[in-house]
């Protein structure tokens, strides 16, 4: 068994790693982190259900109310159609911005240490987590799409456009989730994070054109 201190424990398949192998490992490590997230969603579908509540409230209740406010509709399309896109973005944003909480949770538990002692480069871990947030946001997007269809919103069902939306969701949530991870690293506790998360989401949401046209904003 004992050959030399350095090589013992190294399976043959892992010896002499080329650049190509290293790159392949990197991709597998990144996707592996994201795959774990998909498995978690699969085990706990109730989580998806609870997170569907907010979009339902927005589209079915507040949307109806807001639609009656004079001037809020953008004119050429029904207000609910306008709002649906906004709520899609909002759901993805919220999932991503609060993603850092789960990192703090995993750190407190100790689960994160398993990742940190592995040979996976730090960037692969962060990228994997960003993808994971994207996966969560996509599941959220699916819910909003289903709701919008149910409510008769005029959705463009061109697969290319849907792919474009999915790509935008992935990119947006990857960006906001990494920001969220940075904040998590700085504040370190869930309580502080909640405060900062709310401070961030409120202005981003209300200063966007998610629920009313930007032209209504005071210049």
């Amino acid at each position: 068994m004992a050959k030399s201190g350095a090589n013992v424990g190294l399976p043959k398949s892992m010896a002499d790693r080329s650049v190509g192998q290293a790159l392949g490992d990197y991709v597998i490590q990144t996707l592996g982190v994201a795959a774990a997230e998909v498995q978690k969603l699969y085990h706990d579908p109730l989580e998806l259900l609870t997170r569907a509540v907010q979009p339902v409230l927005w589209l079915m209740l507040f949307g109806e109310v807001m639609a009656r406010v004079r001037g809020v509709a953008p004119g050429n399309i029904p207000y609910l159609d306008f709002l649906s896109a906004g709520i899609l973005a909002q759901s993805a944003l919220f999932v991503a911005i609060f993603y850092g909480i789960s990192a703090i949770w995993e750190h407190d538990l100790g689960v994160l240490q398993r990742y940190l002692v592995s040979p996976a480069p730090r960037s692969a871990l962060v990228l994997g987590k960003a993808l994971s947030a994207g996966v969560r946001a996509l599941s959220q997007g699916l819910i909003v799409y289903a709701l919008a269809l149910l409510l008769g919103v005029g959705i463009d069902l061109n697969p290319l456009n849907i792919l474009g939306v999915a790509a935008a969701i992935m990119l947006g949530s990857a960006l906001f989730s990494t920001l969220s991870l940075i904040i998590a690293c700085i504040v370190k506790t869930r309580e502080r994070f909640m405060g900062i998360g709310q401070v961030l989401t409120m202005p981003i949401f209300f200063a966007s054109n998610a629920i009313y046209p930007l032209s209504l904003m005071p210049v």
Binding site: V8, P11, D25, Q29, V33, Q113, P119, P121
Partner: protein, 277 residues
């Protein structure tokens, strides 16, 4: 040298530390630790809460850079070759490290991917490792439903999947009942015997350290105050001494000036015990 090592053909060095030191501000958590651990050894680290065991392990597993000094693990330098070190070690942290919202198999799969185990070998290796740990039947149950002992065994299987040269186990039996503790140790011994790997274990249970470790180091306020086989250390204190006596005698003066065993650490420790219990 323990008896079972006498028959091993070549003894190579698994870990070597030289004057390894870590300071946190004014506090010196680990002070000039010099240590050599051979391949195939089960090496116990004992010491009071806050003596520096966890800080030492964190440095050796590259989670924490040393303030000064150096160490090689599996032949690689912890400061200049951390990625290579990580590739050749396994670490079972004191805290819960298996993900309770994944199944045992999925936890193993994640480890397999992180450690770059080729796709064609994954399923076989995972199934084999779970079987060795007696977890085949619960492989597809969520780890959150496992008992404390089962979670520990899963974590050991995860950390050993890539056959590390050195496996670090930070209080692997904390919060476990005697039966589960025994089982965890049996599996650790089995892995050592089967693969001739080095195990570095911390524990507060002197009885199990005495029973299972080939050699031990006693750490007190960041320094190693004694190294040797359990019987050597016991002989130093007296004819009928137990390891508890050794511990009490050699660290007796330390307990009053405990600096690191603060509220946060106690809270963490209790929580770890609760999660694994």
């Amino acid at each position: 040298m323990p008896d079972d090592q006498a028959t091993a053909p070549i003894v190579t060095i698994a870990l070597q530390a030289f004057a390894l030191t870590r300071k946190f501000g004014d506090l010196t958590a680990v002070s000039e630790v010099t240590l050599t651990i051979n391949q195939g050894e089960i090496f116990g680290l004992i010491g009071a809460n806050g003596a520096g065991k966890s800080t030492l392990i964190k440095m050796l597993t590259t989670l924490l850079p040393p303030t000064s000094g150096s160490a090689t693990v599996a032949g690689y330098d912890i400061v200049t070759q951390p990625a290579e070190v990580r590739r050749h070690i396994g670490y079972v942290p004191q805290l819960l490290s298996a993900d309770g919202s994944l199944t045992g198999y999925e936890n193993m799969l994640l480890s397999a991917r992180l450690y770059g185990i080729p796709r064609r070998e994954r399923a076989e290796r995972i199934t084999g490792a779970l079987a060795r740990m007696g977890l085949s039947e619960v492989a597809h149950h969520l780890a959150g439903q496992y008992s404390g002992g089962m979670i520990r065994r899963l974590e050991i299987a995860q950390s050993f999947l890539h056959r590390p040269t050195v496996l670090f186990l930070d209080e692997p039996t904390v919060g476990l009942d005697p039966g589960a503790r025994e089982t965890v140790w049996e599996h650790v011994l089995d892995l050592r015997d089967r693969f001739n790997r080095t195990m570095i274990v911390t524990s507060h249970h002197m009885d199990e350290i005495d029973k299972f470790c080939d050699r031990i180091a006693l750490i007190d306020r960041g320094r190693i105050v004694a190294v040797g086989t359990p019987s050597e250390l016991k002989a130093r204190v007296g004819p009928n001494a137990t390891l508890d006596d050794v511990f009490l005698r050699l660290v007796a003066a330390a307990s009053e000036t405990e600096t690191e065993g603060n509220y946060g650490e106690i809270r963490r420790e209790r929580r770890a015990a609760q999660e694994h219990g």
